[in-house]
């Protein structure tokens, strides 16, 4: 048997009841399998070294969106960040930037939950549609219009990457705008007029200066930066063009 490699993990520790401010704690753990991800390392620490390390996770397959953290300064899903890409260097794991920290690696994302509700992320119809009529007809091309924006797992990596949000967290932000666009361009939806006031508000799309980092870090290819700029363009055209339809 070969001796297992070891890897050093530096993780943020912060307990609001005891600590003034966050600090990094260093753990050295066995790196026994090449398929190990940063989340596995955290789980090893929690299970076998220090049970008090707190963080969120669930699916371990990059779909539940709960395990986002800063890995060596970059927002990532820790279940999808491989140790082998860092070894033998140590890895620093910190809570996502731009959010208040509740504890250790756990951030407070209430702000997003409120913004999500504010953009009315549900299908809005002017007249109720009875179920008896069956499903809407929607072509694959029509789905393609919003497919990309519907892939958002609310992981908050984009918010952690966006300096504009970091400077002003009144900004509606990348994921919320992408989700608003997901409904606005869905052929079944008629709620553009209701979402526009929120989107085109001063703290809405206009705040974004197209840093574009949100789209770079997005693990699901949502491209929120595109959604935002497209929303700017659409909104502008609705007002600038004489035939821009207003509702």
């Amino acid at each position: 048997m070969t001796a297992t490699k070891r890897i050093t993990i530096k993780a943020t520790r912060f307990d609001p009841d005891k600590d003034e401010k966050p600090r990094l704690q260093t753990y050295e753990i066995p790196f026994s399998d090449d398929s190990m991800v940063v989340l596995d390392a955290l789980n090893y620490i929690k299970g076998h070294v220090d049970g008090s390390l707190s963080y969120r996770w669930s699916c371990r397959m990059g779909i539940c969106g709960s395990c986002g953290m800063m890995v060596d300064g970059v927002p990532k899903l820790t279940c999808n960040a491989f140790l082998r890409d860092h070894w033998p260097r140590p890895i620093t794991v910190e809570p996502l930037n731009n959010f208040p920290v509740i504890r250790d690696l756990v951030i407070d994302m209430d702000d997003f939950m409120h913004k999500l509700k504010a953009i009315k992320p549900w299908v809005i119809r002017k007249q109720p549609v009875p179920l008896g009529g069956g499903a809407f007809v929607q072509t694959t091309a029509q789905i393609d219009e919003f497919r990309q924006f519907s892939q958002c797992i609310n992981c908050m990596l984009c918010y952690a990457a966006c300096p504009v949000y970091g400077l002003n967290n009144e900004f509606l932000g990348p994921a919320a705008i992408a989700l608003a666009r997901r409904y606005n361009v869905d052929s079944r939806d008629e709620g553009l007029g209701q979402r526009l006031p929120v989107l085109a508000d001063a703290e809405g799309v206009w705040e974004c200066s197209f840093v574009g980092e949100c789209s770079v870090v997005c693990p699901k290819g949502v491209d929120p930066a595109k959604a935002i700029q497209q929303t700017k363009l659409d909104t502008t055209m609705r007002f600038v063009l004489p035939f821009g339809n207003r509702d």
């Binding site: 840093v211 574009g212 980092e213």
Partner: protein, 118 residues
Amino acid sequence: MPRGWWTRRSNYFWYIVREFTSLPLALWLLWFLLEIRRAQDGPSGYHPHSSLGFVIFSVIVLLFALYHSVTFLSLAGAILHFNVADRPIPSQLIVLSQFAAWAAASVVVGFVLIYFAR
């Protein structure tokens, strides 16, 4: 947000550079406005600017201008969204056509600037 956030990652840095391009471009255009204004000086008083310092300034501005053009056109290409026969035009194609428009405009402007110079 710490003050020097944009020095922490190269992407942020290049973003700041991209935004900063507007400053040199603005300065160059202001100079150009003056150049036009100087045509008031009449045939004898007209001396077009040609110091080496000015050329160096222009070279630097050109680099920023190119950076602006490349980033702006590629980003705009990624946003624009057209459908033809229910199929979206691939964004690479849109970017390509933007660059083509840039090239065409440059050729036309260059031609005018040089052809009428007799």
